[in-house]
């Protein structure tokens, strides 16, 4: 398991992607061998047979130049190797509204620090609303290209997240022209039972409808991805090793079912988001096709509202809820299948676009861990995962990811059960385990992410990414760079975290290992035993 190999800060000696990749294999499994965290050279010297085999196999038979090396390496080796590549997210606003790089100097310094720490790379959020702001098909990549350049110069890797959503909190919205269309045609947005539209991403129901000046959103997303591919062609496969496709609100594959966060610490179950015109049409057709047209007239009438608990209304009631009635099963499975096929469309589009570029595609699923320990698991259901007692939604989703050769990013790896309020019946750890099991069954690579920045979650993350074989994570993205990240309090624990991950922390105490050979009288590390039992007592009595 390892984080990364350190690149040069000046780039002069940079061997490029090829070698860097080779070296990743060379970290031995065993503890205690002398592997130096900072020194790739000494790493190669560790006495471990695995190291040697890999090196001779691929190390020098064919020297290939880094920038022309089209290997799909991340996709190739999902969970076979005991190591994790650590990425750190760049600030959400790293590129400004006018396509300049915000805090460029801080970011340069930060990148250097990360590089020295042995972090593999950074994650770059690319906003649809920024790049294609002016009009459909008018892309402006300059800001992001500048960032990619900086990252490359820092000797780091880049994982790009294409964000097809907006973020109120950070004042990023969808492209202006899209919002404008939404103004006249609000049915392109998800809508809840009360008719309120969620304007930070498009409804999955319009994926195939030509609502954007005659084009379907899927076509627009595809155009965006293709433009990205051609603009960043010279980074793909070398500096850029992975792409995450935005799949919905906050980039996650889910419905915006719980977007109204109250400050109240106990999250409710959220609401179904099936009330926009197009979703309702789908539902109607689907119900009719099953011979139950009445079921298609509306969503569940007895579901709780956003911040209510599952038991507050009948639908999710633990024992007598409608969720286990035939209607409940009909609705929940339809609702979930819509999300599944949305994800399928987008990920297969992405895998088409990025095939043979050397980058791996990823999608993110949510970790809806509240109410996990109830039978109805309401929060997951409103978000689109038909998970109840006896139903494993993640099976189908993992299968879908596998079909599209996508890696699955799972957030919340910093959360532990004992930090959750008891009343929420929450279990992030068990849910994570369930998702991972499904991915393992289908051979989907799991990547990790944290949901909150803070020293408290680091231990949990370490457990999650370095655990047993079922716990394999090939990539972990730590969110996110910024003032808090670099604050002395946080950064020092992060430093320790990365060093701990690399098992090299023991290096600092290597002094202890000196004088391990037997030499006549040296007792370097001991103190005189002035006040302990010593020969004098014996001798005086002798």
């Amino acid at each position: 398991m390892e984080l990364s190999v350190i690149g040069t800060s000046q780039g002069t000696f940079c061997g490029g992607g090829e070698l860097v990749r080779e070296l990743r294999f060379c970290v031995p499994k065993r503890n205690g061998d002398a592997i130096n965290f900072f020194d790739r050279n000494s790493r190669r010297r560790c006495r471990n047979s695995r190291l040697q085999l890999t090196l001779t196999a691929s190390g020098q038979s064919e020297p290939v130049r880094s920038d022309s090396f089209p290997v799909h390496e991340p996709a190739k080796r999902p969970n076979s190797i005991d190591r994790v590549r650590l990425f750190v997210g760049l600030p959400l606003d790293v590129v400004s509204d006018c396509h300049s790089v915000n805090h460029a100097r801080a970011i340069t310094a930060g990148l250097k620090a990360l590089n020295l720490l042995g972090v593999e790379g950074v994650e770059l959020p690319v906003w649809w609303g920024l790049v294609e702001k002016e009009g459909m098909g008018e892309y402006e990549w300059s800001g992001y290209l500048a960032v990619a350049e900086m990252v490359q110069n820092a000797g780091l890797k880049l994982h790009v997240s294409l964000c097809f959503h907006g973020d109120r909190q950070h004042k990023v919205s969808l492209p202006r022209w899209v919002s404008k269309i939404g103004g006249s045609n609000p049915s392109i947005f998800y809508t809840d039972r009360s008719g309120k539209a969620y304007e930070d991403c498009l409804s999955l129901a319009v994926d195939d409808l030509p609502v954007l000046h005659g084009k379907t959103p899927l076509q627009v997303y595809k155009g965006f991805c293709e433009s990205f591919r051609s603009s960043f062609a010279h980074f793909l496969g070398s500096t850029i090793t992975g792409v995450t496709i935005g799949l919905g609100p906050d980039g996650e594959l889910r419905y915006p079912s719980h977007h109204q966060h109250s400050n109240n610490s106990i999250p409710g179950v959220g609401e179904f988001q099936c009330y926009d015109e197009n979703m309702m049409n789908h539902l109607k057709q689907h119900a009719a096709s099953l011979g139950n047209p009445l079921w298609g007239l509306a969503g569940p009438h007895d579901a709780p509202t956003y911040n209510q608990s599952p038991d507050s209304n009948p639908f999710f009631n633990e024992h007598s809820g409608s969720w286990k009635t035939p209607y409940g099963e009909f609705f929940l499975s339809w609702y979930s299948s819509q999300l599944l096929s949305h994800g399928d469309h987008l990920l297969s589009m992405a895998s088409d676009v990025f095939t043979n570029t050397g980058v791996a595609t990823h999608g993110r699923v949510p970790l809806m861990h509240s109410w996990f320990k109830t039978r109805s698991r309401a929060l997951e259901n409103t978000a689109g995962f038909y998970s109840t007692d006896g139903k494993d939604a993640y099976e189908a989703f993992a299968q879908m990811f596998a079909r599209n050769s996508s890696g699955m990013i799972v957030p919340g790896m910093d959360l532990s059960d004992d930090q959750q309020p008891e009343q929420t019946m929450s279990s992030p750890e068990m849910l994570l385990k369930q998702i991972r099991a499904a991915c393992k069954r289908h051979g989907v690579g799991v990547s990790g992410m944290n949901s909150r920045l803070g020293s408290n979650g680091l231990d949990r993350i370490r457990k999650n990414v370095t655990g047993d074989e079922n716990n394999v994570v090939d990539l972990f993205t730590y969110q996110r760079m910024g003032a808090e990240f670099f604050s002395p309090e946080h950064f020092s624990s992060f430093t320790q975290f990365t060093r701990g991950l690399n098992q090299h922390f023991a290096e600092l105490h290597s002094d202890d290992l000196l004088a391990e050979e037997t030499v006549p009288v040296v007792a370097e590390e001991s103190v005189p035993v002035e006040a302990s039992s010593s020969p004098s007592a014996e001798m005086q009595t002798a």
């Binding site: 006495r47 300049s100 760079m481 105490h509 290597s510 007592a537 005086q540």
Partner: protein, 929 residues
């Protein structure tokens, strides 16, 4: 000649390999046929500069042609049986290659004469050797009648200290007592109340032994003398099988009532001496101990036992490259002062440093090694001082890679990497910058930048080979030590960068254009080695108090104590402000370039600094930058016009202090009202201050700074000054009040430490700061018995040290808080608890002069020795085990446990066994065994 040198060649190795632990150390020359290998280089090679006695002893051995004969003699006469075992990876000291002469004179001449050397570099190579020597213990009587002496000697070089005590006849148990005053040799130093430390000295310059002689009084009731030997250089203790040495003395006179006589002492042949003889050749007891003393009548007893010590040996490799004008090939000349070296080498075509074997012709004695590299045995140089080789390399190669292999399978590398010699065009064109470039790569960011993707194949082989070697283990060790240094410097760099990123993210509203420029600057700035935070292992002594100026010759007084300071284990001394000052203590500076102060004049200061440097101690200058006293009045009669070399006018004074009518800008910090505050925002002021500080660095030799009253101006200016002077260590005094509610100190002092952190951040981490927060919390905890205060809400130390340990300089007292001023005195009588805390915890501890030279001395000395011995450093990890009302306990780096406070605490005996190490009033320290 051939036969003769041949014999010697064999004999030397066997001399060297009397070592039990490595019975088969293969010091065999593969080329015994080469009679030209002379003896001299081998000898040179095994001689360390520190071992001054060695040469003398070794020479007679070599001059006799038969080793077997001389060996016995050697051991008996010289008693300095010295074994050398190389530990492994070696360092090289690089010499200028021009002085070298080559074995193949013709080649060398061609090489030297054709000029045009575009690359020349000397690689330092250090190698750890284990030398073996002896400790002897002798009890004898002068002239048969006189006083009896116990003599303890050691044949190895070092700063040997005898740490000893006595047991009395009626003592029960095994406690030590301090010996009576008359027994203590001069130079003895009491340690606690039961031991004495006496340094070993050479009786004369060319005596091979360091020894100490203790008088034994026949009439005293001393039953035994107990001791251990300590090497101050390495901090190592030498004991006998993990126990103290014990020399029992039984006075028959007292028991039998017989008369005095030379028989009144009997040395007990107790368990100690019967066990000591580990090796057959040490069997000789009651042997006349030294040639020089053969005339002395020896009775009593003489015993010896072997000891070992690790010593660094320095050698060098020099590489020069020039272009051959006729063939446009590169000629590379490699020489070293090591004997019998195989160069394991290859070339590379690009920066990736992939090893290749170049086509021939190759130098003589070259073999191809598994098609990946070449091995060339270097030819001995004609003057016998090492060996050399000339390599012809074709055009178009980017670099020459090599490692050295000694004939006992020891590999020598360059700081853990392969040696790399650039051959590229750029370095030909700019030989200067090429070398610079190379140096940077090799030295500064060493472990990182170098050798990124090189020679996987080659390394692979090395791994295989090392695996099969017995010495592999030790080679690991020394490599670790080296990479550890690299790690430390990298950690510092990381912290600096993070601090920079933090301060920008935190405060700035970015303007893009400006930042592009800054960014370029940043890119071009060479990586700095010195970050103002030292090695991480510093222990600072504040080398003065508020009264030190009174004698007028403080520098000289301190100089007399320099040795003592060094032996206590301090690595940094903070000296008082050196400039002419209105107040005698120096904190009201006037003419900055006038370094005649009440502490002494500039020459005495230099003498002091030189002395401290000699002892390996770094020196901090106390720089008062916030304010400066004026020489002249302005037209209103206000003193704000400066004199001396920096004759600033009132534009150098901040505008917002009405007392001084400055015409500068407003102050960027708080004002100190007793003198005109300097306006650091003025370019001319900053330029002058930088010039002055650089002058102090060069002229006086200060290694770093203690910065007075840094609250008075923006930390960004401090960064400027630090960057201009690259101090080894710097610490700022940012002292303001902690938070109190209704007169009671708040538990949470985060705001207080945040202000200090903010200042450090403003300096971009280029300087540390005194951890005032920790002092404050210690005050409250100790004074009121509220030890729970010593853990913050997150279970970390509550001071700056809990947040940014590498920049925290912890202290208990200074000249302001204590001494005769006592502005904020540490709770009386509890100082040692404070020291037990700061000297075991992370952060860089600073010890106050008054405490060192007080009753606390021995306790502080023990704590310092303890910190050094366990290699605790400013980034050590502290784990708080208990923070209760009456006790605080923590485990540091998992190897040291400490408690302070009257309450009870025992470290849990889990997988680790804890044994008590130090104890004092309300504190106790354990070490894990």
């Amino acid at each position: 000649l051939g036969t003769h040198s041949h014999t010697q060649k064999i004999s030397l190795p066997s001399f060297l390999r009397t070592d039990r632990s490595f019975p088969s150390l293969p010091f065999r020359s593969p080329h015994t046929a080469m009679s030209s290998v002379a003896v001299e280089p081998l000898l040179r090679y095994h001689r360390r500069t520190e071992v001054s006695g060695l040469r003398k002893v070794a020479n007679p051995c070599c001059s006799s042609s038969s080793l077997n004969c001389s060996r016995q003699k050697l051991f008996h006469r010289g008693k300095c049986k010295l074994r050398v075992r190389r530990r492994s990876t070696a360092p090289f000291v690089i010499r200028a290659s021009s002085s070298s002469s080559s074995s193949s004179t013709a080649l060398a001449e061609t090489f030297e004469s054709s000029g045009d050397v575009f690359f020349r570099h000397s690689f330092p190579v250090t190698q750890t050797e284990t030398v073996e020597g002896k400790i002897f213990v002798r009890v004898d009587q002068e002239n048969g009648k006189g006083n009896w002496h116990l003599t303890v000697g050691c044949s190895l070089p070092g700063k040997w200290i005898l740490h000893w005590g006595v047991s009395y006849v009626n003592d029960i148990g095994s406690e030590w007592d301090q010996p009576p005053k008359h027994m203590r040799p001069s130079g003895s130093m009491p340690v606690k109340n039961y031991a004495i430390e006496t340094p070993l000295k050479k009786p004369s310059g060319d005596d091979p032994f360091y020894e100490v002689k203790i008088d034994i009084d026949p009439k005293s009731a001393i039953a035994a003398i107990n001791f251990v030997l300590k090497d101050e250089e390495t901090g190592a203790w030498y004991q006998h099988k993990g126990r103290d040495f014990k020399v029992p003395l039984v006075d028959y006179l007292l028991e039998d009532g017989t008369v005095f006589g030379s028989n009144s002492f009997v040395i007990w042949p107790g368990p100690f001496f019967s066990n000591i003889l580990l090796k057959p050749e040490t069997d000789s007891t009651l042997e006349p101990d030294d040639v020089k003393r053969e005339d002395r009548k020896v009775e009593g007893i003489y015993e010896e036992q072997p000891i070992t010590k690790h010593i660094a040996i320095e050698n060098s490799v020099t590489v020069s490259v020039r272009k051959c004008p006729e063939t446009s090939k590169n000629l590379l000349y490699l020489e070293t002062d090591l004997p019998e070296v195989v160069v394991h080498w290859g070339v590379c075509r690009d920066d990736a440093k992939n090893w290749e074997t170049p086509p021939g012709p190759h130098p003589p004695e070259t073999v191809i090694f598994k098609e990946k590299a070449l091995r060339t045995l270097l030819q001995p140089k004609e003057d016998g001082r090492g060996c050399s080789g000339l390599f012809t390399l074709e055009e178009g190669l980017a670099g020459f890679l090599f490692v050295l292999k000694l004939n006992d399978n020891t590999w020598l590398k360059c700081k853990g990497n392969d040696f790399y010699v650039p051959l590229s065009n750029s370095s030909i064109l700019h030989s200067e910058s090429g070398q610079e470039h190379f140096k940077d790569a090799a030295a500064s960011v060493k472990a990182l930048d170098q050798n990124q993707g090189s020679d996987t194949a080659f390394t692979n082989e090395i791994i295989k080979e090392i695996r099969n070697l017995v010495s592999g283990i030790s080679s690991d060790n020394s490599r670790k030590v080296k990479t550890k240094e690299a790690q430390e410097s990298i950690l510092q760099e990381i912290e600096k960068l993070a601090a920079e990123a933090y301060s920008i993210f935190r405060s700035s509203i970015p303007t893009f254009k400006e930042e592009v420029v800054l960014e370029e600057e940043l890119e071009q700035a060479p990586p700095k080695k010195s970050s103002g935070t030292g090695s991480g292992y510093e222990i600072v002594l504040q080398g003065f108090n508020w009264e030190s100026h009174k004698s007028g010759r403080w520098y000289m007084e301190l100089k007399e104590k320099a040795e003592d300071i060094a032996s206590l284990g301090f690595t940094v001394v903070w000296l008082p402000p050196p400039t002419e000052s209105v107040s005698p203590e120096g904190y009201m500076p006037k003419d900055l370039y006038n370094l005649n102060s009440r502490y002494g004049n500039i020459y005495e200061l230099k003498e002091l600094v030189g002395k401290l440097h000699e002892l390996g101690i770094k020196v901090l200058g106390d720089a008062v930058l916030n304010h400066r006293c004026a020489q002249y009045q302005n037209q209103n009669g206000i003193w704000n016009i400066f004199g001396g070399r920096l004759n600033w006018d009132d534009r150098a004074v901040v505008a917002d202090d009405p007392h001084f009518q400055g015409r500068g800008n407003k102050s960027s910090g708080d004002n100190f009202h007793a003198a005109p505050n300097i306006d650091h925002s003025q370019d001319f002021v900053r330029k002058d201050i930088k010039g002055w500080m650089r002058w102090l660095r060069e002229e006086i030799g200060y290694d770093g700074w203690r910065l007075d009253f840094v609250r008075g101006f923006w930390g960004g200016y401090v960064k400027d000054y630090m960057d201009a002077t690259s101090p080894y260590f710097a610490v700022g005094e940012y002292w303001d009040s902690l938070s109190y509610t209704y007169g009671e100190m708040d538990h949470n002092q985060d705001a207080h430490r945040q202000r200090i952190i903010d200042w450090i951040n403003a300096t971009s981490g280029s300087a540390g700061a005194f951890d005032v927060t920790t002092k404050g919390v210690l005050h409250a905890a100790l004074e009121r018995c509220e030890y729970w205060r010593l853990a913050d809400e997150k279970g970390k130390p509550p001071g700056v040290v809990g947040w940014w340990p590498s920049r925290a300089v912890t202290f208990v007292e200074n000249h302001d808080t204590g001494s005769t001023q006592g502005h904020w005195r540490f709770p009386g009588g509890k100082e040692m608890q404070g020291y037990a805390y700061i000297l075991t915890h992370p952060g860089t501890p600073a010890v106050f002069f008054d405490h060192v030279y007080s009753n606390y001395r021995s306790e502080i000395a023990a704590l310092l020795a303890f910190r050094n011995r366990h290699k605790l450093h400013c980034r050590s990890i502290v784990q708080i085990s208990k923070a209760a009302r009456d006790v605080y306990a923590a485990i540091i780096d998992e190897k040291v446990a400490v408690k302070i406070g009257p309450g009870h605490f025992e470290p849990p005996n889990g997988p680790r066994k804890w044994s008590p190490a130090l104890e004092g009033r309300d504190y106790k320290i354990w070490e894990s065994s």
